[in-house]
Symmetry: C2
Subunit: 129 residues, 2 copies
DNA sequence: ATATCTGTTGCAGTAATGGTATAACAGTTA
DNA sequence: TAACTGTTATACCATTACTGCAACAGATAT
């Protein structure tokens, strides 16, 4: 499994789980229709509680990343993740704003900022590794 | 005062305070050397506890945005905010990553993402309003 | 039918966090 | 001396993150 948690982080475990699975989808390591481990097995796998995994799955389901067939298990959304709507773009804007504000204060140029973003985008293109 | 808090938000009050002050500095509404209200008066002003304001100020001080002369009050760093170091850029990278990952999943192109960032940058250029 | 897998739900307990309240201390300034 | 500043301490409450144990409901395989 590609899950790698940092129990020392102040980022909640369930949130880390959500991010890592989204990363997996973004870099095409997790393909539409692909199955994910059950809440119990994944919990046992990484040594955390069933509820913590369930919370992550619930959020991913809520956001359309995965589907949960009651007894068949968890599956990456076969139709692909729902495309960005206004709500998402709004949220994105809201999240980016403070990062950009602080960057400006710290003399990070727009050019440099955009370059950093591009660099990150790159890391999601070369699917292998 | 330009402080505008949302008590319904799940973003902590002290964090909102931090962000708004950073925004103020970023858009040059708060200039280097400019004084900020005391913890008590600001707390009374927006109807929150002294400790909450203090927590925000402490974080801003920690990050070099403001200076606190023991009895003279709080002042926007006259030497300007410390420029971005590796630690900051690292943090920035870490914060941007999940936003970009989800954007990719939701079919937001790199171009569109960068454009959004540019749009946000623009809002910090026209200092007036 | 029975056993076993699945997600889901409930309740309880611990620890940490965010916020409030009251109070006091230590310097500075008027 | 009085009034202001930031700072610190203690206590309290609500919420959140996480854990643990347990049970329920539906599907599947034997």
């Amino acid at each position: 499994m590609f899950i790698n948690l940092d129990f020392e982080s102040n980022e909640p475990i369930y949130q880390q789980l959500v991010h890592q699975i989204i990363e997996g989808i973004a870099r095409k390591e997790l393909l539409p229709g692909e199955g994910l481990p059950s809440v119990r097995s994944l919990a046992a796998d990484i040594g955390i509680n069933l509820h913590t995994v369930n919370k992550a799955y619930q959020q991913l389901k809520q956001d359309g990343f995965i589907l949960i067939h009651r007894q068949k298990g968890v599956v990456v959304n076969p139709d692909g993740v729902p495309k960005a709507d206004d709500s998402f773009k709004n949220q994105l804007n809201k999240n980016l704003r403070p990062l950009i504000a602080e960057s400006i204060c710290r003399d990070v140029s727009e050019e440099e900022f955009l370059k950093l973003c591009s660099t990150i985008f790159e890391t999601y293109k070369g699917g292998s590794t």
